[in-house]
């Protein structure tokens, strides 16, 4: 039982970060049909900017805010300078652009910061709490609470603000949204900004546990993408569920079956799910227009 709880805690923690990355994928995908493979770089920026601002003497909370601002600015620039000029290009062209952006951002981070691993002090103390025999890091709870707060805030934003509703309208039908007077270009820009911000917060929260370096983004993008697809692309709730499931599969797979093959277990389950439900867990079955 203590083992089980231990795996559960670590799985949920990692899963929460995957969920945030998957949520970022989903937001941008919904607004613009772009699969943004630079999504993991926002997580990296969140962690790295905080670490280096803190090293430069900026108090930690301020450093974190600064990191989010930097990531949001990068997200907006990515949209303005790379995605908007390529408007109308095919989906696969846009994917290569985001892959280029991801290589570029990694290169910038390697030059502007360095290529070493960095950590942050835990936000809520470093002594683990014993829960039913399992040692739970307070930081894990910070990660989970942070993720829950972001998801709630995002939901409130979508459901209760005019801008949020414009985002939903753009996602469901871009042309119709434009006809009702929504500036869809700004909505797409907004989706990049929000995705970048969400990613950065995730990066800041998880750095005390998993460390960060200039190249952590690739693996996170890969897992986040898989999580988003598992949940059903375009479904925010699916993205969160997918992220948590991938995290849990990894943790339990590593604990009970084989740590060397933990990623294999996660992907085998994803493959199995896609065979049974080709549209993902919470995705709606696609209706094809001919």
């Amino acid at each position: 039982m203590p083992e089980f709880l231990q795996f559960l805690a670590s799985g949920l923690t990692v899963g929460a970060i995957y969920a945030l990355v998957a949520l970022g994928f989903t937001l941008i995908y919904n607004a613009s049909d772009v699969i943004n493979f630079a999504q993991g770089e926002f997580v990296m920026l969140g962690g790295m900017v905080t670490v280096f601002a803190a090293l430069a003497g900026v108090p930690l909370p301020l450093a974190a805010v600064l990191a989010v601002i930097v990531a949001v600015a990068v997200g907006l620039l990515l949209h303005k300078l790379a995605i908007e000029p390529a408007r109308g290009a095919s989906a696969v062209t846009l994917i290569i652009i985001t892959i280029g952006a991801s290589i570029l951002l990694r290169g910038v981070a390697a030059v502007a910061f360095d290529k070493r691993f960095h950590s942050l002090p835990p936000f809520a103390g470093s002594d683990p709490w014993l829960v039913g025999g399992a040692a739970v890091l307070p930081q894990s709870l910070v990660v989970l609470a942070g993720t829950a707060a972001i998801v709630t805030a995002l939901w409130a934003f979508m459901a209760h603000t005019l801008t949020g509703k414009a985002l939903i309208a753009t996602a469901s039908n871009r042309l119709a949204a434009r006809l009702t007077g929504i500036n869809t270009d700004r909505i797409v820009g907004l989706s990049f900004a929000v995705s970048a911000g969400i990613g950065a917060v995730g990066g800041i929260l998880v750095t005390p546990i998993t460390l960060t370096s200039y190249d952590v983004g690739t693996l996170l993008a890969l897992k986040g993408f898989a999580a988003a697809m598992l949940g059903g692309m375009g479904n925010p709730l699916g993205a969160v569920a997918g992220g948590l499931i991938v995290g849990l599969l990894e943790a339990f797979g590593a604990g009970y079956i084989s740590s060397a093959y933990k990623d294999a277990i996660a992907f085998l389950v994803i493959l199995a799910v896609l065979f049974l439900r080709p549209q993902g867990l919470l995705g709606s079955a696609g209706v094809e227009r001919v």
Binding site: L104, V111, D263, A264
Partner: protein, 313 residues
């Protein structure tokens, strides 16, 4: 008839390039780069059959590339299979795996297919990383040199010719395929799966054909790279390698045979040239990829061909 003429032109152009290029290459180092371009172009050519012609994405092709590479490493080292026999065996193994995996996977569409192939590629790479007794684990393993009738195939200039001739054969096979009813079925599937199936095209069968073919191309290219380098590591089959293949195919131009060669050339040569920028190498590479895709969004070869056609017409 016009289609066939242009096919012959493409094969002739690639053959002429392979034949003439040595006249201007100043040192074995450049032969090495050119050989790498040909080897990667071979893999990208296969991927282009799948992505550019049949319209199916794969983010896991490095897995097949890795199977080819490890076949010529493991075969001679552990099982006493000579390299020349291990190479086709590896290609056959990759084709068989693609056949088995492709049946269920190719029912998926678009991004779901992307994530499924990505998962497949990761699983293959993970086996190479973890089965250390056979594969040497994360550090990889040495690959014995290829020996044909007592002739040791080694050195950059030798490999230039071996890979160049193979690429010409690969291009010739691909152009023939594209001009055949199978190639037309691929393009029909690409344009509209519904319309294609209404015409009586067996979607599953043709998608599977494209998948298996592209896997075999990738495996042969992987075996060549391993034999050429004399070393193979799990990174050969890694996710980044898969992404590299897709980037090459898209950058050069999906659906363009010459595009595969150009895309491979750009992404093999560029990092070599950019090493003069030292730490700024990745920044430059990323920027160039973005700028190319914004301004030549259909890929280098098709976009430039369109420009030329406009000028002429």
């Amino acid at each position: 008839m016009r289609l066939r003429t242009s096919n012959v032109t493409v094969v002739a152009a690639v053959a002429a390039l392979v034949a003439v290029l040595p006249l201007v290459l100043p040192s074995p180092f450049y032969f090495r780069i050119a050989a790498l371009v040909f080897i990667f172009a071979l893999a990208v050519l296969g991927l282009n059959l799948l992505m550019g012609f049949a319209g199916q994405v794969s983010l896991g092709h490095a897995g097949f590339f890795g199977i080819g590479a490890y076949a010529v490493a493991i075969g001679p080292t552990h099982w006493g299979v000579p390299s020349w026999a291990a190479l086709p065996a590896g290609a056959a193994a990759a084709g068989l795996l693609a056949y088995l995996v492709g049946r269920p996977i190719l029912r998926l569409r678009g991004h779901y297919l992307a994530v499924a192939t990505l998962g497949m590629g990761l699983l293959i790479a993970m086996v190479f990383t973890n089965e250390a007794r056979l594969t040497g684990g994360p550090d990889g393993m040495p690959v014995p040199r290829l020996e044909l009738f007592g002739w040791r195939v080694r050195g950059s200039i030798t490999w230039y010719w071996v890979s160049g001739v193979t690429l010409v054969i690969g291009v010739w096979l691909a152009t023939n395929l594209i001009g055949s009813p199978t190639g037309r079925a691929f393009r029909a599937i690409h344009d509209s799966e519904t319309a294609a199936s209404m015409l009586g095209i067996d979607l599953a069968r043709y998608k599977l054909t494209a998948f298996v073919l592209s896997a075999v191309y990738a495996a042969v290219a992987g075996a060549y790279l391993a034999l050429f380098d004399g070393l193979v590591t799990p990174a050969t089959a890694g996710f980044l390698r898969s992404i590299e293949f897709v980037s090459m195919a898209v950058l050069g131009g999906l659906g363009s045979i010459l595009g595969s060669l150009v895309g491979a050339a750009v992404l093999v040569v560029l990092p070599q040239m950019l090493t003069v920028f030292h730490d700024y190498e990745h920044i430059a590479l990323g920027l160039i990829m973005i700028v190319f895709m914004i301004f030549l969004r259909a890929g280098i070869v098709p976009s430039l061909a369109a420009v030329v056609a406009r000028r002429v017409g």
